[in-house]
Symmetry: C2
Subunit: 433 residues, 2 copies
Amino acid sequence: MKTLFKNCDIIATENGDFKVIKDGYLAVDGAFISYVGKSRPEGEFDAERDMSRHVLAPGLINCHCHSAMTLLRGVGSDLPLQKWLFDAVFPIEDRLTAKQVRTGSELAMLEMLSTGTTSFSDMYQDSRETIEAAIEAGMKANIHVPVLSFDPNESYADNVRAQNSLALAREFSNAAGGRVRAQFCVHAEYTCNEKIVRAYAEDCLKYGSMMHIHLSETKSEHDECVKKYGKTPAQWFKSLGAFDVPSSAAHCVWATPEDIDIFAENGVTVVHNPTSNLKLGSGIAPVSEMLKRGVNVTLGTDGAASNNNLNMFEEMHLAALIHKGFRCDPTIMTPHQILKMATVNGALQQGRADTGSLEAGKRADIIAISLDRPHMYPAFDDINMLIYSAQGGDVTMTMVDGRVLYENGEFKTIDAERVMFDARRAVSELYEG
Amino acid sequence: MKTLFKNCDIIATENGDFKVIKDGYLAVDGAFISYVGKSRPEGEFDAERDMSRHVLAPGLINCHCHSAMTLLRGVGSDLPLQKWLFDAVFPIEDRLTAKQVRTGSELAMLEMLSTGTTSFSDMYQDSRETIEAAIEAGMKANIHVPVLSFDPNESYADNVRAQNSLALAREFSNAAGGRVRAQFCVHAEYTCNEKIVRAYAEDCLKYGSMMHIHLSETKSEHDECVKKYGKTPAQWFKSLGAFDVPSSAAHCVWATPEDIDIFAENGVTVVHNPTSNLKLGSGIAPVSEMLKRGVNVTLGTDGAASNNNLNMFEEMHLAALIHKGFRCDPTIMTPHQILKMATVNGALQQGRADTGSLEAGKRADIIAISLDRPHMYPAFDDINMLIYSAQGGDVTMTMVDGRVLYENGEFKTIDAERVMFDARRAVSELYEG
């Protein structure tokens, strides 16, 4: 199947940087982009699509998410993190069935697809359901299966979750032709002991996988770790081998300059989660310092319970705004940098060098955004408009590997009616039952 | 015309506080709300509308806006305020024709109506065009006609703009049955001399009007005023009589505790503009202190050139998030407080006691928001969902004085096609001509 998109603005990439093409052409051949340019490419096409008053952009990559938590959207709102987590969230999660995790994950994918996310990095208990849902939905996903241990003396072999996670990471390491990949994850310093972190990191290295961690999300987490181990969380994880593999650290709100050096020197991707960090009162991560130091900074929504959305347009918008206001410097971060965080930097986090940009030869992970709405007039600078003006709801098409998964309110691979029915039932079981 | 909305959640008001009614009824009789309740009201209706999976909420009130600036959306993005204003914005505004101001204002109203704003407080040169556009569009508006003077010795009588503004404020003080009201405005301390402020404030008092001012938006503005006059901008304006009338101060980012006392003691409404203050790097206003002190805090979008949108859902969302993150306190502000800022507090700012809440006897300024979208599941707490989850694009209906002005993408009083055509032409004239 060869498709030609015509008459559209395109956020293309040329020599490693964005280049906006006005009124251009983009051709898709099967799962790949075959042409991007100002003039019409040669050859015949099975379909030609007029995309006047639309922008084509690379699919957005949500680099830190707990998709099943859509069923906990808004739970424990406006509580401090530890209280929110231990008093509001954990008791409900203890009751979640596999079927409910499946429903929550599917609901998450509806939301992500309808707001332009083509790939996500997830972390959740019972990851099997999320893995299978992602395979069926046609989305890309790195599903990080977590270990937790509240017993300081427990061994790796005795930790049932760790063993299950290991098995899952091996079984689905390269599912659906690599589109869905189960990988490693340590929930956080405060929920795991040293022995298990070290052993799990060794297995991660052994199986050639990737690691994902919550790190220095709150000041108390950061300070308690220093008190307990004499090390910051970044130093602690580094000492246990967690950064000997390609790894991501989510949040890093309280990362010190020395921690930022560790990220830079060890190629650790930082996932910035602006909404969640603000909503839980965790703070504002030193993102501009990380960018200056050359750290690969990406964006994530975190779970719906602390956001309340899985909408990358909101994260881009917030990331573009809050650091300017917090530091009183409107030049501290550019829309270009923000869009990179949400696309090409995300592709690097996920180890997917064939995604994240619109260039011939890359996989066709493409979204279309309407410019034909009052708030999108005028559009001098399309990247500026995507970051500062667009809503998630302005996305009109989401394509993964050349396959349209969402278009104009219609989902092609997920039965949205059924998922919403299941979601209503799950909620009534969980909260009213 | 009597209309009954049924099967909807309603953000009603009871005894001065919000009360969410699940699966309730709201009746509109002409321009007014005649019933709000859980059970079906008696009587016959000309129309019954099933609003299943929708929330009805009070229309949002955008308390600080420069509507015509939609034609400057994104202009000078990522520049510091003074550079943005003097180098990027003012030169374009000098070229703006009355026709272009009209087009920009109409484009603004399309955006506001489609994102749930029923009333706005505007400030712009050539306000006549905005006034006439608001009258025709059916929206509510307080249009503050500004004075500026860059000559420190100029008198009130010699300032042509002041005299024109005065004439306009008198001509349209109560247009369209009070739906559109032209009122007074001093642009800012740094753009006006003492004599003119004092004389214009005296006329404002004499004609029983209201005042609107930019105040302590940036640190340099605040500090320069202290250096020049030995007074903060709030102290300066108070000394000149600007707070002897019902008045609003926009921004107040650098307001001191003593300034906040002045606002509280003089009934000055503060308009918080979170997006604009962040984007221009102005800073983060001490809103929680203002609320504690009992100041009437409202929300505004500011102009599209520094936002880039006129979308009150974004302002509510940001206001709910940024203070929590900045102060590391998730309990600092509640969704209830935020929704009040955007509705009932706005009605107070505008001097419209018959709007701002859904109660029998109030004017029917009502918006409907769809809950039937993936990101709106589950909806435990409708107010929480409106603040943290909803996008402007989730608004399905906007009604002013019982008249539907927008519904499901259709505008009933503005020819959207024509406005967008005019906007394209205006942009090409302004920037390419």
